[in-house]
Amino acid sequence: MAAVVVLFAAATAGAGSLPYVEFSDEHLYFGRIVWLGTCENCHGYGVADAPIPMKPNEWRHRVSKQREILYDHAINGFFGPDDSYMPERGGNTALSDAEVKAAVDYMVELAKFYIDETGEEK
């Protein structure tokens, strides 16, 4: 698991104003910036059924998926089983594949943090 270096980052999560964990890994640090710039707007609050990484129950089954599947959903878009819709690149078509993948990697680590470290809904 990536090391956690800062628990009280500038941005706060929608669910209970939690801080978004910052990891020391350079790739995840970059991914967090991308995530805050695009993904957080929905995934931080559950907008349009976007799964919230601070809620372990919404991510337990997702973190076990092959990472390539998550990349594919994030890059190309995805329809959920009840026709919820994740637009390609989170609606920010200016993002490169590498940026989207970094954001996915950060979100997975963020979800794992709450699953591993807290094990409960926040």
């Binding site: 957080e40 609050y45 349009a48 976007a50 026709d83 819709y85 609606g91």
Partner: protein, 198 residues
């Protein structure tokens, strides 16, 4: 029994698409069994759920997934589906029209914005202005206030209206009359204002 039934008043407020209803039953002259806040929250829950279902099961499925029809602001000319925000607005207009014939049903709701495409949807009262600003700056939170208008006291609740689909963003950002053109997916674009007389 007849007396008892006469002493009960039921306010039935029919919601829009799904035909769900929220009812308040109270003994005449006694305290209502639901608070204005709970009533507003319940109304918004129905409105928001209906709109989410329309967005997902109609627009997302037919436009994005099956690609059999488009959704357009100019739905008549384009032979297209109405946009989710238009569906909501049409519902509020129909509810207001139907409520006019129901003396016991005295509430209204509307979709407003600090950045309206149509200026008539801008906030007018102080509570509307403060509430729309609050929900935009405090994502995930609602705004509640009491206000007096025309000598009558009202409970006013305001809930964030969020850009839940790319079409919300593109429509507002590209619209010639839009005063704000840098919306992103997930941004608060305005608010649902529910007003209940006290």
């Amino acid at each position: 029994m007849k007396l008892l039934s006469k002493s009960l008043v039921t306010l039935g407020v029919m919601a829009t698409l799904g035909g769900l209803s929220v009812a308040v039953a109270a003994d005449v002259g006694s305290t209502p069994s639901i608070t204005p806040k709970a009533m507003a929250d319940a109304l918004h829950l129905v409105m928001d759920s209906d709109r989410a279902v329309y967005t997902k099961k109609i627009v997302n499925r037919l436009v994005k997934k099956e690609k059999v029809i488009k959704a357009s602001e100019h739905f008549e000319d384009d032979k297209a589906l109405v946009l989710p925000a238009q569906m909501f607005r049409f519902g509020s207009e129909l509810a207001a029209k139907r409520a006019a014939d129901m003396p016991d049903v005295n509430f209204n709701y509307s979709l407003q914005s600090m950045w309206p495409v149509n200026k008539q949807n801008a906030p007018k009262t102080e509570a509307e202005k403060a509430g729309l600003k609050f929900v935009a700056e405090n994502k995930g939170e609602n705004y509640y206030a009491e206000e007096t208008l025309g000598g009558k006291k009202y409970f006013t609740a305001i809930y964030a209206d969020t850009a839940v689909a790319p079409v919300c963003v593109s429509c507002h950002n590209d619209h010639k009359d839009s005063p704000k053109r840098d919306f992103k997916l997930g941004d608060v674009m305005g608010g649902v204002v529910i007003r209940i007389p006290l």
